[in-house]
Symmetry: C2
Subunit: 461 residues, 2 copies
């Protein structure tokens, strides 16, 4: 069957507005942070799981590549298309179907924006704790397909931990409905794991049952400074015990990053002077007065013991937001021109030496470059950014080699939370064994034998 | 190759003490709570992952069934063997290989008892929060293979949530080493999920990287009474917010259960009089004085609002243990003769009606029977026990029908935490769809094409 014929058939199947072609395709950005546009034969916009199933069945039979689109906020080119691909956009499957306040679950279609889910939970006095900068654009289906991380992983876990049940459609159109609502269900294999974090290569997520949490009633935050990275690790372990169950973020900022995000240009204030290393920490609790007093007491004791050498405690919601804005001003790195932003993970015990090695090598290789490092260290997750003037291939190769090459030997990962997509495909073998990659390919060939679902992403078959 | 020849070859491979046969096999109980004995051609006791790999490779080629044994504490006959099976026991792979106090991880071989892991964590000022009654006998490999639940799932999650990395051996001897140590790693598919909760049917878990938590510094517990189940649900939701992040258990006891476990015969005291329903609740915090005072204040406010009608707060570690002993005196049900103990899960919203329906029907069917109900309701998990005199097949069929039949329609599960094994195999189709079971079988056939790993468990191929 020709692609033209397929698109015509899908127009009939999906009705008015169901299929976009021509300029309606090419006028859409290929990603919300990209300046190129979607190239694809058509964008299919089903409204139901049954329609998704019909589309995939036909594409499976025809060997037609399909790339599923959520909010296009990914950072590793996992949603990039070729001109002869079909885009399956879940933008019209965006209903919140149910909220169960006794079981504290929400059932939502995959195209629902994360922000809408957070808002709906809040209206019921609950929260959906997954949170990331792209919350207004990203969809829960995309969050699931990429196992999104974000700001509260340390406390609540990655997206995987928030998903109780899932409905997905396999390449051949089979609908797999595993819409479990319970925390405990050991009746047979937990099939939803096949679709979480596999970047749309094993199936299309259409609906999910989400675990909700009680809304936090109090919020404390502080920026503190330490004498060095070893103290930061000790501080993390002490605070996690001190703030039992309520420590929600522990973000480390090295000085180059701190200077950049508190420069006059940034518009942020500079809460602390010059120190070897900084931590933004955050707790979510239940009793504002008691929690605030405890927060101050605990930080006071760390000042006394010398584990922290300076601290600023936010005194209001506004001041909490200001501290977070410092941490979130990563885009300041673009003041020096094009910049590359990286996402790796590694054991905390190896971080100090690794960060030092990468930054020293970069500075030696590019004396005029700008480099910053920061991270969710409690999650084993470091981010780096590098700006060396022109963003050409030769520079990128040198910079990436310095960053990625040491990871294999120390048990690190080339992708902490962004995934593999196309951008990191060449790096997969540096942190996963041949046996692991063989098993990934076996899963792909088993569930998508015609290689139609997001083909060429994560690995090549 | 004959089974005799295989056993001889494995004796050579594993050396002295590596293979048990004859009385060394038949004198071992088939399970720690069973009164029958292991029937199998031999028990293989490898010491290394390489030996496990060699064994499986040979068995794969020979089509020889292999049943992996951990601590034999399972409750659904998932480790039962046939006379011509080989048992692969991981009892000599029981080393704790590493503890990383900065990353707060532990690396342990699969045969390590859970208790040894808990103790080792404690020695480092940390805790491994997975906890169940069988802690002294069960092994971490078994906990992983069955995705064990237990007493602290509400706070810390099932075993799945405690596992960062895993090493497993496939049926054909391929060693899959995914010994990740980070909370965040999105580099390709998360293959460890294939081996968690699949009851030894897709591979043999040989090692794991475990996530450790800070040790709790304070512990509060109380037994409270409510006017009815709806109040219990409201109480759960309020307390989860009130005790932000520290509520660790919320165990519901219906009156028949409460009477049984506080009878004179039980040796337990009776902390509260007669009420419609009871809750044992438990928090783990960081500051004994502050947490105790908050615990009392919060429960006081619930008494004032009428959400709870009576309460006893434990005043010491001894009193906490006494409250838990009440909850754990389930074996009192055997005072009336043989008893069946059940484990199901269902949405909290459906629990009140379901519990009432099951208990009423049982009492109508067996006017002289004894029936109790209790559960980890926050996890959606209810347990029931039924004692109706003789434990014959006819009784069991009637009793099970009443319990399991309603679950499908309300989105419940025939196994919350025990798994499927052999015992619940006939029930799998009542709570999983045909498409789901087909996919389970596809996974099994893909990774164990000769059906040698724990064959006939969970489902038939």
């Amino acid at each position: 069957m020709s692609l033209t014929q397929l698109v015509e058939d899908f127009s009939a199947l999906l009705g008015p507005g169901g299929v976009l072609t021509g300029e309606d395709v090419s006028s859409r950005a290929a990603g919300i942070w990209r300046d190129d546009f979607i190239e694809a034969a058509a964008i299919l916009r089903p409204k139901t799981t049954e329609q998704v199933s019909s589309i995939l069945k036909r594409c499976h039979e025809a060997g037609q590549p399909v790339v599923t689109h959520g909010g296009l906020t990914g950072l590793v080119e996992a949603a990039i298309t070729q001109p002869a691909d079909l885009v399956l956009s879940l933008e019209r499957m965006n209903a919140i179907q149910a909220v169960d306040t006794s079981g504290r679950t929400m059932t939502a279609e995959a195209g629902t924006p994360l922000q809408a889910i957070q808002d709906e939970a809040e209206e019921h006095g609950l929260q959906f704790p997954l949170d990331l900068g792209a919350r207004g654009s990203c969809t829960i289906g995309g969050n699931i397909s990429t196992n999104a991380g974000g700001n509260r992983v340390f406390r609540y876990g990655m997206t995987r931990a928030q998903i109780l049940g899932l409905e997905a459609v396999l390449a051949d159109g089979t609908v797999v409905s595993s819409m479990n609502e319970m925390l405990k269900n050991n009746a047979g294999y937990d099939l939803k794991q096949l679709f979480i974090g596999t970047e749309g290569t094993l199936g299309v997520v259409t609906r999910a049952v989400l675990r909700l949490q009680p809304a936090a009633r109090s919020h404390q935050a502080a920026m503190v400074a330490c004498k060095g990275f070893s103290d930061v690790v000790m501080l993390l372990n002490e605070l996690d015990a001190d703030f039992a169950g309520t420590l929600s973020a522990f973000e480390v900022l090295w000085p180059d990053f701190y200077q950049m995000v508190t420069s006059e240009r940034s518009g942020n204030s500079k809460p602390l002077g010059d120190y070897p290393i900084y931590v933004l920490l955050d707790t979510l609790g239940s009793d504002q007065d008691a929690d605030k007093s405890r927060f101050e007491d605990v930080l006071g004791s760390k000042l006394e013991s010398g584990l922290i050498v300076d601290a600023v405690i936010a005194q209001s919601k506004k001041e909490i937001d200001e501290l977070w804005r410092i941490r979130d001003s990563v885009s300041e790195v673009f003041q020096w021109g094009p910049a590359m932003i990286f996402d790796v993970s590694l054991p905390i015990a190896a971080m100090k030496a690794y960060e030092h090695q990468v930054m020293s090598q970069w500075r030696a290789d590019f004396p005029n470059g700008h480099f910053i490092s920061f991270g969710h260290i409690a999650d084993g997750n470091l981010h780096f950014a590098a700006s060396v003037g022109e963003d050409n291939e030769a520079n990128r190769t040198v910079i990436e080699k310095t960053l990625y090459e040491p990871l294999g030997a120390i048990g690190g990962s080339v992708s902490a939370e962004h995934g593999i997509g196309l951008e990191k495909k060449h790096l997969l073998a540096s942190c996963r064994t041949p046996a692991e990659i063989t098993i990934m390919k076996t899963l792909k060939q088993t569930f998508d034998p015609n290689n139609i679902l997001n083909p060429g992403k994560v690995f090549d078959i």
